[in-house]
């Protein structure tokens, strides 16, 4: 019962949030509704028994990407979107999105059908330990060590570089200011 309610709520948040984000005129509202959709997706991950993925979804997409998008939105000249019509190029974008979504949906449905067929053969569909942090840690430091390591180094370099760049620009100013 409670599982059904939580699934319905998460799915509704994800779908309705995404639809509204694509259709409202106000840019900031669209960004916030995107956040609602992302939150719903995190709920779906929880429902699928992947708490780690759900937490990472919230940390990365709501705590990071959404805040970045909100910042970018505030630099827009026309946040409320008053008196703006959708440019024609948008139709091509819509077509492309629809095609991609259809492809992904087809792949998903086919994967589901295959998984069902496999289960009929007595095979478990998902390995039992796949969602645990231990299993994810083993995967990240085992099979996927090289990409994980490279991404970590890249992010650390980016972190240090950001500080370094700001420092180089700021130092003369600060010294002039306080001289």
């Amino acid at each position: 019962m409670i599982a059904l309610v939580s699934f319905a709520a998460s799915a509704a948040l994800a779908v309705v949030g995404a639809l509204l984000a694509a259709s409202v005129r106000n840019l900031l509202h669209a960004a916030l509704l995107l956040g609602v959709s992302l939150f719903g997706t995190a709920g779906l991950y929880l429902f699928l028994g992947q708490p780690w993925l759900a937490c990472v979804q919230v940390v990365v997409y709501i705590g990071g990407i959404l805040v970045l998008i909100l910042f970018a939105t505030l630099f827009s000249s026309d946040i409320t979107g008053s008196g703006q019509r959708a440019p024609r190029a948008l139709w091509f974008a819509a077509l492309g999105t629809a095609l991609t979504t259809a492809l992904a949906a087809w792949r998903l449905v086919r994967g589901g059908v295959e998984a069902l067929a496999a289960r009929r053969g007595g095979e478990p569909v998902v390995p039992p330990a796949v969602g645990s942090t231990d299993a994810i840690g083993d995967l990240l430091l085992g099979a996927w060590f090289a990409p994980f390591f490279l991404a970590g180094v890249l992010l650390t370099v980016a972190l240090v570089a950001a500080v370094a760049i700001v420092q180089r620009h700021r130092r003369p100013e600060v010294e002039a200011e306080h001289a």
Partner: protein, 467 residues
């Protein structure tokens, strides 16, 4: 995350006496999830306000609240309980009750300490008009305080209060705390923009820039503890800090070498900034920005932001205790506490965690009423040039320590928590670990002082003094 769902299901089935309907499920969710949180945090946060005023007064050599006692609230309670009796009999019963010696003394002290002040403040706040400015973005403006409260309250779900008092046991609870407290960032952004006021917008931007920056050292500090303990489960982290013997506190993470002590400092300072407390309150700097992102808020919506702030302060205190100070464990003789009956053990553990939280809470207030506010650029510099490098250094130090310690020993099983492997530190390397970095730091500081005469230029840059 099955613990909570299981509790809800069980309770709902018990309430309904069979397969539960939506009513039973709603009741169960309220009972398991919402009510304990509110019961726990609301009174503490409300009381935190009066505590803050008394401490501010003590530091500034004033008296603080000193007349409002608990008589009025008590009379209201009497009237509510005896509502069927006529008014004179209610008053007579109340007078008789107040004449009892212990009650009279307690009421006298409540008046002297001004303990009833928060009730009066609360009623005043509830009575205020809820104003939405004309230029405001209505929905965003109205929803922001709720989101701030959600972000402040959700992390409490996974905190272990006692061995048998964890609302939601999950192996990713440390990550859960980071994730849910991040929602406050979005809330402040919404409040800043939705108010339709330039002070609010500037305050909101400052707040978000500050929160995003300080989430980096907080995340790194939590990451260091996770690296040391080898688990993201807060309850397992608490269990791993258990050491048998009289001085249980030797097993606490803060005693495991200088790097974890450094991480504790980084976590505390960054946590202070996450709560937007002075000296990091430049987002609501009243001398520059009226009141920052909550300029336009009034009444209960303003109260929600204030409550979220106090809740977050308590949360930082509880997290400091959980990650570094042994959680709910007693500093001395924890093993004998485990022999007590379960209810007594749970009560004592919860009280111990509360005491540790209160110490951090009081420290935050002391700092607020002692230090002046940082400037914007100083806040950013402290995060990126001091806290992040320190946190990275400690992470590196912890990793090296784990390598040097060579392998792991089976840790102690603690209560119902299974034994987890813990880094093998026999006493000699443990001592070296403390002495070598401290000596190195002393030598470095002395060398720097000798070279630069007095204060190091980095320190001077940090405080913004002229070179």
């Amino acid at each position: 995350m099955t613990g909570l769902g299981h509790a809800v299901d069980t309770l709902a089935a018990w309430l309904a006496g069979g397969p539960p309907g939506w009513f039973a499920v709603t009741l169960a969710v309220l009972a398991v999830w919402v009510a304990p949180l509110l019961l726990l945090v609301f009174p503490v946060a409300a009381f935190g306000q009066i505590l803050e005023r008394k401490i501010a007064a003590a530091i500034q050599r004033r008296k603080g609240p000193n007349s409002a006692g608990l008589d009025g609230p008590l009379r209201l309670v009497f009237r509510a309980v005896l509502c069927l009796l006529p008014r004179e009999r209610q008053d007579r019963a109340f007078a008789a009750f107040c004449n009892l010696v212990p009650v009279r003394t307690a009421l006298l002290w409540s008046r002297r300490l001004g303990l009833g002040q928060f009730v009066a403040d609360g009623i005043k706040m509830l009575g205020k008009e809820d104003i939405v400015p004309r230029g405001a973005d209505g929905a965003v403006f109205r929803f922001a305080p709720y989101l701030a409260l959600v972000g402040a309250f959700l992390p409490w779900c996974v905190l272990p209060f006692a061995q048998h008092l964890v609302m939601l046991e999950t192996e990713v609870s440390a990550l859960f705390v980071l994730a849910t407290s991040g929602l406050v960032v979005v809330a402040l952004k919404m409040a800043g923009w939705g108010s339709g006021n330039k002070w609010s917008l500037l305050g909101g931007m400052r707040a978000v820039a500050q929160l995003v920056s300080y989430e980096v050292p907080i995340g790194l500090a939590v990451g260091g503890v996770v690296l040391w303990c080898g688990t993201m489960d807060l309850h397992a982290i608490v269990g791993q800090q258990y050491a048998p013997g009289v001085f249980t506190l030797l097993g606490w993470n803060v005693c495991q070498g200088p790097f974890l002590l450094l991480l504790l400092l980084v976590f505390f300072v960054a946590g202070l900034a996450e709560c937007q407390r002075s000296p990091f309150d430049m987002a609501e700097a009243e001398s520059e920005l009226v009141s920052g992102f909550n300029t336009e808020y009034s009444g209960l919506r303003w109260g929600m932001f204030a409550l979220a702030e106090y809740t977050e302060m308590l949360l930082i205190g509880a997290l400091v205790a959980t990650l570094f100070l042994g959680g709910y464990q007693s500093p001395i003789g924890e093993q004998w506490l485990l022999l007590l009956p379960t209810w007594l053990e749970t009560l004592l553990h919860a009280l111990i965690l509360g005491a540790k939280t209160l110490v951090v809470f009081l420290l935050m207030m002391w700092i607020r009423w002692t230090l002046p506010r940082f400037r914007v650029d100083q806040v950013m510099r402290l995060a990126w040039l001091v806290l992040v490098p320190l946190a990275l250094l400690s992470l590196l130090g912890i990793a090296v320590t784990l390598l040097v310690a060579g392998g792991t020993t089976e840790g102690m099983a603690y209560g119902r928590l299974a034994a987890r492997p813990r880094p093998d530190l026999s006493w000699l390397p443990w001592l070296l670990l403390w002495i070598v970095p401290v000596l190195a730091a002393v030598v470095l500081v002395r060398a720097a002082n000798a070279r630069y005469g007095g204060r190091h230029p980095a320190l001077r840059r940090l405080t913004g003094e002229g070179a």
